[in-house]
Symmetry: C2
Subunit: 360 residues, 2 copies
C-alpha cells in the first residue's frame, strides 16, 4: 500500500491526479505543440477553472505559468521594484523572498517577527518609498498564517504600493479579494496535490504597466518570463517557452474537481480537519500547538511541538500506520512535526493520524 503523505510539500497527491495524467498520456498531451489550438484550449480551461476557484475579477489580470513559486519571487521583484520593497518576515520562506530582493540589488526593507509569530496590519509600518509589500499568507516553515482581512487592511492603508501575497501552501484556502491585492502565487505540489514543476502567478495590469515602464527606462526585468513577455503570450493562451504542458492540463482538471466540490466547501472541510488536529494537540500531554496565538495558526500546515524526539515520532507513525508526517523546518527538525492539511487528505485520514499519534 502506498503511504499517506501529510508532508507540507511535496505532499499527498490529490486522489484524481494519477488518472488525469493517464488521460493526458492517452490524449498525447506530452507531444502536442504548445503553439497549437489544442494547447490554447488547455491553457484556457485551466484559466477559467482557476478564475472560478479564486473568484478573480473578469478583467485586468492574468494567470501565468512558471517553473516554480520560487521563480515567481524573483520575477515579481524584477518586474515591479525599481528601488525599494518591503517584506513581512517571520519564517524561512518569507525570509527567502526578502533575500531575493537583496540579491537583485533592491533596497529591501523588512519587518521581522520571531519564528512562530504572525503579523496583523496594525503591527506594520510600511516604509514611505517601498513600491511593493510582500506578505506570506502561510509560512510553511512555522505554520503561521496572515489572515486575509489583515492583508487587505494593509493594502487599503497603502493603496499606492503593490501588495504581493505568497499563498504557496494555502491556496485555494486563503480567501483573498483580488480587487484588493495585486498579485498572489502558489505552486502545484502543495494543496493542489500534484507532482512539482509548475508555479502559478496571478498578476494584475498595474503591475504589467509598471514592468513596461521600468523596461522603457532601461531597467532589466528579465527576458522570456518578464511580465510583458508572459502577458503578451497569455493574451492568446500561450507561453513564451515550451511549458509543463501536462502539468497545466492536470492543474485545470484538479481545479475543475475543486470547483465541483466548491471552494467554500473545501474551506469548511479544511477548517474541520484543522480543528480536529489543534483540539487533539490541546488535549495531548505529548504534543502542543507551536503557534500560540490562535488567530495566527495556519489551517493548512499544522506545526506541533513534540515532548519526545520528533524523528522518533515520525518513524513510529510511519511504521504503525504507513502515514508520513513532515519534520520541523531547519533547526526545529528535532522538536517539531508539521502536518499538512490539504484537500488530498480526508477527515477520516486525519482522524486515523490523530489516533496513531495518540497510541504510538
Amino acid at each position: 500500500m502506498q503511504p499517506v503523505f501529510f508532508t507540507p510539500g511535496p505532499a499527498a497527491l490529490y486522489p484524481t491526479v494519477q488518472q488525469h495524467y493517464q488521460e493526458a498520456f492517452r490524449l498525447s498531451i506530452g507531444s502536442i505543440s504548445h503553439r497549437s489550438a489544442q494547447f490554447r484550449k488547455i491553457y484556457q480551461h485551466a484559466d477559467e477553472q482557476l478564475r472560478q476557484l479564486f473568484n478573480l475579477p473578469k478583467q485586468n489580470n492574468a494567470i501565468l505559468f512558471t517553473g516554480s513559486a520560487t521563480e515567481i519571487w524573483e520575477r515579481i521583484i524584477m518586474n515591479t521594484v525599481e528601488h525599494e520593497c518591503f517584506h513581512l518576515v517571520n519564517g524561512s520562506f518569507s525570509k527567502k523572498f526578502f533575500d531575493f530582493a537583496q540579491e537583485l540589488h533592491k533596497y529591501a526593507h523588512a519587518a521581522h517577527k520571531p519564528f512562530g509569530e504572525g503579523f496583523d496590519a496594525s503591527d506594520v509600518s510600511v516604509p514611505e518609498y517601498a513600491e511593493l509589500i510582500c506578505a506570506t499568507a502561510n509560512e510553511t516553515s512555522s505554520g503561521v498564517q496572515m489572515r486575509p482581512q489583515e492583508i487587505h487592511k494593509l493594502k487599503r492603508a497603502n493603496k499606492s504600493k503593490f501588495m504581493a501575497v505568497d499563498m504557496v501552501s494555502s491556496a485555494p484556502y486563503t480567501n483573498l479579494d483580488f480587487t484588493v491585492v495585486d498579485t498572489a502565487f502558489f505552486s502545484v505540489q502543495k494543496a493542489f496535490g500534484m507532482p512539482a514543476g509548475l508555479g502559478v502567478w496571478i498578476a494584475n495590469e498595474s503591475m504589467l504597466e509598471k514592468a513596461e515602464r521600468m523596461k522603457k527606462h532601461e531597467g532589466v526585468i528579465g527576458t522570456y518570463h518578464s511580465l510583458p513577455s508572459l502577458w503578451e503570450n497569455y493574451k492568446k493562451f500561450e507561453t513564451p517557452e515550451t511549458p509543463n504542458v501536462m502539468g497545466i492540463y492536470v492543474l485545470g482538471k484538479v481545479a475543475e474537481d475543486f470547483n465541483r466540490i466548491g471552494v467554500e466547501q473545501i474551506r469548511k472541510e479544511t477548517d474541520k480537519k484543522a480543528k480536529a488536529l489543534y483540539d487533539f494537540a490541546k488535549k495531548s500531554d505529548r504534543f502542543e500547538a507551536f503557534v500560540e496565538n490562535e488567530l495566527h495558526r495556519s489551517a493548512t500546515v499544522v506545526v506541533l511541538n513534540c515532548h519526545e524526539a520528533a524523528g522518533a515520532v515520525i518513524n513510529k507513525v510511519k511504521e504503525s500506520s504507513g502515514m508520513v508526517v513532515g519534520s520541523g523546518y531547519g533547526k526545529m527538525k528535532e522538536t517539531q512535526i508539521r502536518i499538512a492539511n490539504f484537500p488530498a487528505v480526508s477527515l477520516e485520514q486525519v482522524e486515523t493520524l490523530i489516533h496513531t499519534l495518540n497510541t504510538i
Copy 2:
C-alpha cells in the same frame, strides 16, 4: 490508435516514457521530499546516466536542472557575461538567444547567416572583448547543424572565451567534447521524448568562478537559479527550489535506456534514418531538402521544401497514416515541413512516413 509524432518538439514520447511515469506514481515520487535521501538518489542516478551518455569529464562540471532550455539562455548570459557576448545567428532560436543578451543589457555582437545556411569556424571572426560565444548545434527552425568539430575549432581559437552550445534539438546526437566546450544545454521534450517542463544545463567550473566573481563585484546574476546557487545545491544532489521531481526521475530512466542501446548506436541509427529522409527528398519531384550544403544539414530535424501547400501535405499525411509532421517555422509555414528524427521514431516508422509522402 495514437498518432506518431514527427514534430520537432514537443515530439513523440520515447516508448518507455509512459511506463516510467507509471512507476514513478507507484513509488510515490510525486510526494517525496526534495530534501530526502530518496530524491538525492534520483538526482544522482540522472547525473550518472547523463554523464555516461555525454561522456563528461569526471570533474569540474555539474549537471543542473531548470524549467526549460529557454531559461538556460537567460541564466548563461546573466552568469557569465559581464559586458560583451557574441552569437552565431542563423535562425529563430539562435536569434532569441541573441535577443535575450540585449534584453539583459549586455553588449551583444552577432554574426548572421541567412535562414537555411550554417556556420563553419573559418566563417567566424570573434570580437576581441566577447566573454562568451554562443553557438547552436542544431537550429530547430531551419534544420541547420553546426558540426561539433567546427564548434571545437572555434573554441580552440578563442580559448579565453566561454563556449556555449545550444543542443536543444540534437542532444545526445551531437558529439561534443566537454573538455573543450564550457557549457551545453537541452530540454527533455525533444530527443529524450519526454513531456516538457525540464531543462538540463551542463556547466563547468570556470563558469562558476566567473559567476562568483561577478557577484562579488556587485553584478546581478539572479537568485535561486544563479550558477553559484544551483552548484551549491548540486554538490549534495539537491536543487534550490522544489524541482520537477518526476521529470528528473524519468530523465534518469530514459538516459539509462539510451545507455543500454549505446550512444554510438543511437547516432548510427539517427544517421541511417536521416539518410533515408534526405535520399527520399533527392529523388522526389515534390519535395526537396531545404538546406543546400550537405555538411550543414541537420540529422535530427529534417526540413523539406514542398512544391504544394505544406498545410495540405501535413493534413494528408495525418489522414492517411495517423502521422504528424511539423510545419515550417514562422514564415515558412506555407512552404516547408519539418520532420523530427529523434530516437523515439524507428527506421520502420520513417520508412512508412516516406512511403506516405510518396503516395499522398
